[in-house]
């Protein structure tokens, strides 16, 4: 992790920029660069570098920007799970029935309660096919930024983010069993604990009772 002062890009002087190696991004790159055209659903906001990165891999990108829906000041009344589900229905984009290959959840799960994660998982399951992968990050530190982080893809295996250390809140510190509870139709393929306190997860869509492609059903995951 290389801390440096942020330069431009809409950041404030209090924000600190960090760059880090992302093993899961590398996995995604390997998959997406293997040929064919892929569809990517980004639950985070539109970021120029990310659009450029995935476009160079011939991907079509759908940007949901749930960050804004969930965390803009006017969204604070989103208290009931029903309101949350309605918001998902409204804000998740239409792909004209085409399933997506990759879903980028970034660190969004840290800001959702388990029932909200389950609602999200249910909503995005309609975008999934049997090899859809979901990239998520869990914050393992006691504190986390007050709002989800905007990650920038630097290259095939490096990400960067800017955070304001003054605005922190307590972190739920979700564990892998928590993630499995929140995303019951997804199975953890691999996870990496990074030195910066982020734990990256790569999950595959595996609805209850479904077998992995070409493999027998993996037991005890749900």
């Amino acid at each position: 992790m290389v801390p440096s002062r942020s330069e431009g890009g809409g950041s404030t002087s209090d924000e600190t920029r960090s760059e880090f190696e992302s093993p899961c991004l590398k996995l995604l790159f390997d998959r997406l660069s293997s040929g064919g055209r892929h569809l990517v659903l980004d639950l985070g906001p539109a970021v120029g570098e990310n659009v450029r990165f995935f476009s160079q891999l011939a991907c079509k990108i759908y940007i949901a920007d749930l960050y804004e829906s969930l965390f803009a000041p006017r969204a604070l009344q989103l208290e009931s799970s029903r309101a949350f589900r309605l918001m998902l229905e409204r804000d998740l984009p239409s792909t004209d029935g085409q399933p997506v290959d990759v879903i980028l959840a970034w660190d969004l799960l840290n800001y959702l309660k388990t029932d909200e994660q389950q609602a999200l998982a249910e909503a995005i399951s309609s975008y999934c096919h049997r090899t859809t992968q979901l990239f998520a990050m869990v914050i393992t530190h006691k504190e986390m930024p007050a709002t989800p982080t905007v990650f920038h893809v630097l290259d095939r295996q490096h990400l960067a983010f800017e955070r304001d250390p003054q605005w922190q809140r307590s972190s739920p510190r979700y564990t892998e069993p928590d993630i499995r509870r929140g995303l019951p139709d997804f199975e953890v393929d691999v996870s990496f604990l990074l030195r910066n306190g982020l734990q990256e997860y790569m999950l595959s869509y595996r609805p209850r009772g479904a077998a992995a492609p070409g493999l027998p059903a993996r037991p005890g995951r749900l």
Partner: protein, 169 residues
């Protein structure tokens, strides 16, 4: 870009460029002023700057269309080159390129061979730079249910030590 990454060079976001509208009106360009509201489709053969409100399709496939900072468009826009500094609710089709500036706000889909989103731009929708390309067919299949598992638990899926030398940030 890939070569850069191999050398370990990180990407530096470009500084936002001054917007055309900030440089003042361009020659040979029609302008819809901030107080103008249009309901209906627009078509023609010259560059267009929109600072007002347009509620109708804009079709200038051979020209540059700029939605200025005070511009509000609610419909699809077809242009050779499209710049968004204001707000658009609709799809953008750029034959050459589409640029959403930091002040831009777009709700819709963008189709064009070159699409640029400046940091700070607000965008919801899809971006397609290869509209003719077909999706990888073999993977787009529904999930088939399999028999329920017989064994209650498997080893942890998390592999923090998958490659301790390289697998940690």
């Amino acid at each position: 870009m890939w070569k850069k990454s191999e050398e370990g060079t990180s990407y530096q976001a470009p500084e936002p460029q001054p917007t055309p509208s900030a440089r003042g009106p361009q020659p040979d360009q029609a302008t819809i002023g901030p107080s103008i509201k249009i309901k209906g489709d627009l078509s023609g053969d010259e560059d267009l700057m929109i600072q007002g409100h347009v509620n109708g399709e804009i079709r200038l496939p051979k020209n540059k269309v700029t939605i200025g900072p005070s511009g509000r468009v609610q419909a699809d826009v077809y242009g050779k080159s499209i710049r968004v500094e204001g707000q658009v609710k609709g799809n953008l089709y750029g034959d050459q390129d589409v640029v959403v500036r930091a002040s831009g706000r777009v709700q819709g889909n963008i189709v064009g061979p070159r699409v640029t989103l400046e940091n700070g731009a607000n965008f919801k929708g899809s971006i397609d730079m290869e509209p003719g390309a077909k999706v990888a067919k073999s993977e787009a299949q529904p999930v088939k249910p399999a028999p329920a598992p017989a064994v209650p638990e498997a080893p942890p899926a998390a592999k923090p030590g998958a490659n301790p030398a390289t697998g940690r940030g």
